[in-house]
């Protein structure tokens, strides 16, 4: 409900160091466009989500969050085209420059033949939700996104799983050159693929390929720590067994939690006992034919995610309950 008062008063919008007046009857998007601020937009009625922005300090008006995922709402994202401010607002645009914090490498060791476990420690607590990602930046400015694999309650540190990519400048640098004690710049956390402690009896389906396990491990640890009581299924897929990791740790968790199920999947020809043979997509769909009411997390290869997003939806998961983190490979 919009009150008559809020529509007739002028509020200020602050973006970085600039302040703009949102005229009565204007939406935030109207003001930004009138002021020639570069912002992407299309439908102007809350359908396309192109003009999503973030409120830095206050809760945005409820109506401006219509249709967003719960995880986006939690971080005060809103649609500029639907927002009639009810008070002064500080707004962050999606492409606004980020704040970086220096961290120190405290662990770098291999998890398998091509995946590095990297742990970066900070002086102060680093606030994030398990499953989000950050940008890591080298001193020459080269930047790549990596998912966080741990939960915030553990320590003032972030854990990453870095797969060595052929000719990947950043991953090769992390694998071959970085040493314990080196510092590295880390951005603020981003992304909406994380666990919220609600509907704890809901089934959770976690599907990952390769280092897609990183965000899923964080989400899993978080869900278990928050006492999620519904069934939790983790499917981790790769071609060869040498490219999976954390297998023993996951099996230990299965022993400790009755509701947790772990299904490592191998699509290659050699499949040892205890592993499922086939593409992870096919194994998931054959194992869980009805996903009505389930919450789904898909992380890793973009093709896997695209297909599974549609399939898990057809099998009954609500579109608002499907969270994804596609790993796009930056060339070079």
């Amino acid at each position: 409900m919009e009150s008559v008062l809020s529509k007739n008063k002028m509020y200020t919008l602050t973006i970085e160091d600039n302040t703009y007046f949102c005229q009565p009857h204007e939406t935030v998007l109207d003001t930004l466009l009138r002021e020639n601020i570069a912002i992407s937009y299309a439908c102007k009625k809350g359908t396309c989500h192109s003009c999503i922005v973030c409120s830095s300090d206050i809760l945005p008006p409820e109506a401006a969050q219509t249709g967003l995922k719960n995880t986006q709402k939690k971080h005060n994202y809103f649609l500029a085209c639907l927002c009639h401010p009810e008070q002064d607002m500080v707004i962050k645009l999606p492409d606004q420059s980020e704040l970086y914090t220096e961290g120190t490498v405290v662990v770098n060791k291999l998890l398998n033949r091509n995946t590095l476990l990297l742990i970066i420690a900070f002086k102060d607590a680093f606030e994030f939700n398990a499953g989000q990602f950050v940008n890591l930046q080298r001193s020459d400015g080269l930047t790549r996104s990596y998912s966080i694999a741990n939960i915030p309650q553990e320590s003032n540190s972030l854990e990453f799983h870095i797969r060595r990519l052929p000719n990947g400048r950043f991953s090769e640098w992390l694998h071959d050159e970085i040493k314990i004690g080196d510092t590295i710049a880390v951005s603020e956390p981003r992304g909406h693929c994380f666990y919220l402690p609600e509907r704890s009896e809901q089934g959770l389906l976690l599907v990952g390929t390769g280092t897609g396990l990183a965000p899923l491990a964080g989400i899993l640890t978080d869900a278990l720590a928050q006492g999620h009581s519904g069934p939790i299924y983790l499917f981790h897929g790769s071609r060869d067994v040498e490219d999976l990791y954390r297998i023993d740790e996951m099996r230990q968790l299965v022993d400790q939690h009755e509701n947790f199920h772990y299904i490592p999947c191998l699509s290659g020809n050699y499949v040892p006992e205890g592993f499922s043979h086939g593409r992870v997509n096919d194994i998931v769909l054959a194992s869980l034919p009805d996903l009505k009411g389930w919450r789904v997390f898909l992380c890793g290869h973009p093709d896997m995610i695209k297909q599974m997003k549609t399939m898990t939806f057809i099998k009954g998961a609500a579109s608002a309950d499907i969270y994804t983190d596609a790993f796009l490979v930056t060339s070079g």
Binding site: T47, C48, T66, G67, T310, F313, I314, G316, S319
Partner: protein, 129 residues
């Protein structure tokens, strides 16, 4: 959305339940469409999330709600599908899925008939005729 309207002649969009009705229908409808072998090949290469937003806009229009589609938009938006062979049978299948969705949501038959009539007004534009 739920503001009381005093005028006796409520629009179809209001009688059907406005935006909450669209939200209730969109997943059910889109799931039916993606599961329908007569038409799901037309959706093979689309991103589900973006498509779901479009389906919401389509349902809003079909329910007689606010929209800014023109006949020309309909033609342009479906031209690549017409090239793939989109014809009356596919159009009918989509309308059928929409009708089944509304029945599932216990929308009265006379309102469903009005929705179908609105869809019909777009047939020639969608099929590029």
């Amino acid at each position: 959305m739920t503001d009381t309207q005093d005028n006796a002649e409520k629009s179809l969009y209001e009688r059907i339940g406005a935006e909450p009705a669209v939200n209730a229908a969109v997943d059910i409808f889109y799931r039916k469409v993606l599961s329908d072998h007569r038409i799901n090949r037309f959706f093979d290469n689309v991103d589900m999330e973006k498509q779901a937003a479009k389906q919401k806009a389509f349902l809003t229009m079909a329910f007689g709600g606010p929209h800014n589609y023109t006949g020309e938009d309909m033609r342009k938006g479906h031209a690549h599908l017409v090239k793939m062979g989109l014809d009356d049978s596919h159009f009918d299948a989509v309308v059928e899925n929409l009708g089944a969705t509304l029945e599932e949501l216990n929308v009265p038959q006379e309102l469903i008939a009005e929705v179908v009539a609105i869809c019909e007004t777009t047939r020639n534009d969608v099929l590029g005729r």
